[in-house]
């Protein structure tokens, strides 16, 4: 029997996620061609000219596309998401404390979570601020002739630092989405929009209950009407 599925992300949320994800990965790969010596030797000067052009080109969708999709496509869920990201409960801190145990396959009783668990919230915050950081330093480098030489000189190490840190975050994010047995269902939510009822109940109990209550409220309203 097909298990009941629950919508977690609408189309605009998913498009926003993937426009950010794809542009970020392209920027990370093309940018790291300049950081890792082995990679740059492999590509050679001609290859590096291509990665440089791609890197400059993708700055535009990275900066503007995701924000446009999210703000035009689904402003209300963006507001909800941001609100959750900046609201940290005791359960959230508990979740973060227990997370390493779960990550390494040790028994852990995870606390109740909303639509986004504390790890997802942390990832969201790192993504928001990390992206702003990369955009700020990156656009300075792209339009370096309009900035003070000392500002440009600092933009180099700061852009590098942000990229390598965000790269480390991405490694963890991709693994949790694709490979970690406890979290794998989450990727379906980001691709098809819905997750299984079991996953919603087991991993996002607070959100699941809210949905149930809302459903009950609307159905009773209908009955009254």
């Amino acid at each position: 029997m097909q298990e009941k599925r629950i919508e977690r992300f609408n189309l605009a949320e998913r498009l926003g996620h993937w426009s950010h994800g794809i542009t970020f990965v392209v920027l990370l790969v093309t940018g790291s061609a300049l950081v890792f010596r082995g990679f740059s030797t492999l590509l050679g000067p001609e290859g590096l000219k291509v990665t440089r052009t791609l890197h400059h080109f993708f700055a535009y969708p990275f900066t503007f596309l995701t924000v446009l999709i999210l703000l035009i496509g689904t402003p209300r869920s963006v507001y909800q998401w941001l609100k959750e990201c900046f609201t940290w409960s005791r359960e959230d801190w508990q979740f973060l404390r227990l997370f390493p145990r779960q990550f390494f396959g040790l028994p852990a009783k995870m606390p109740e979570q909303g639509k986004f668990n504390a790890g997802e919230k942390l990832n969201s915050l790192l993504t928001i601020f990390g992206s702003l950081w990369m955009m700020g330093t990156g656009w300075i480098l792209l339009f370096r002739d309009r900035f003070d030489a000392q500002v440009v000189a600092w933009a180099h190490p700061l852009h590098s630092a942000g990229a390598l840190l965000m790269g480390a975050v991405l490694v963890g994010h991709v693994y949790l989405a694709l490979c970690h047995p406890e979290c794998r269902e989450a990727i379906k939510g980001m691709v098809w929009g819905s997750v299984s009822e079991t996953f919603a109940r087991e991993h996002h109990l607070r959100w699941y209950r809210e949905l149930k209550e809302r459903a009950k409220a609307t159905s009773s309203e209908k009955r009254v009407a």
Binding site: A33, L34, V35, F36, R37, S40, P45, L48, K49, R52, F103, F104, G105, R144, A149, V152, A153, W154, H156, P157, S160, A161, A163, L164, L165, G167, A168, V169, V171, G172, Y175, C179, H180, P181
Partner: protein
Amino acid sequence: MARLGMLIDLNRCVGCHGCSVACQAEWELLPEQHFTRVHRYEVGSFPKVRGGVVLTQCMHCDDPPCARVCPTGATQKRPDGLVIVDEKKCIGCRYCESACPYGARSFNRERSIVQKCYFCYHRTDKGKKPACVETCMAGARFFGDLEDPGSEINKLIRARKAIRIAGTGLAYVPPRNWPMDRSLLPPDFKEPGTVRVWQDLVRPAGKAAMGLAAAAVVTSLLINTFNKGGGHRAGKED
């Protein structure tokens, strides 16, 4: 091994810009590009004012930060002291421009590469003088081996009491008739803080962070695979 360098006698320089223009012609530079620049300065207060000229260019540093940050290896330090750019390898990322403590790098907009004074290695390798030395009508520029005590340049450095700019391949004869303000000359070499932070701190720490994340992922993957496999076998035995 030799240590090739240049001596600039500021007593002799008349500020005619001949070197700057000869260099542009030699390297077919864009009009706004100057490998060597002529700066005018004034000291004192009216009516006792004196003026003079200081020439600047690539200092051919002993430990050039431009070569350190170059991701393609286009900028290289030669064993004879010259800092050169393999223009075919340059991708125009302009990292070197920010790394240079002397602002001696010059971006070629048309070719999208960064260039600088090469001490005219295509000439000096054949025993000829650099274009700026050859053209200087006042005889203010000298090129030669700074390590050979008997070389013309070393004799002149001693005779004219020139100031060697530490950590670089340049020496200046300060103006004789005026108490020279050392701050008018290029400072002794010091690696810029941004380059140190970037190369010695950010890169190793950032790579370590990425490595740690990857190691954690692999560990987790192994543990979970092992746990699942173990559980599966146990189930079968039951």
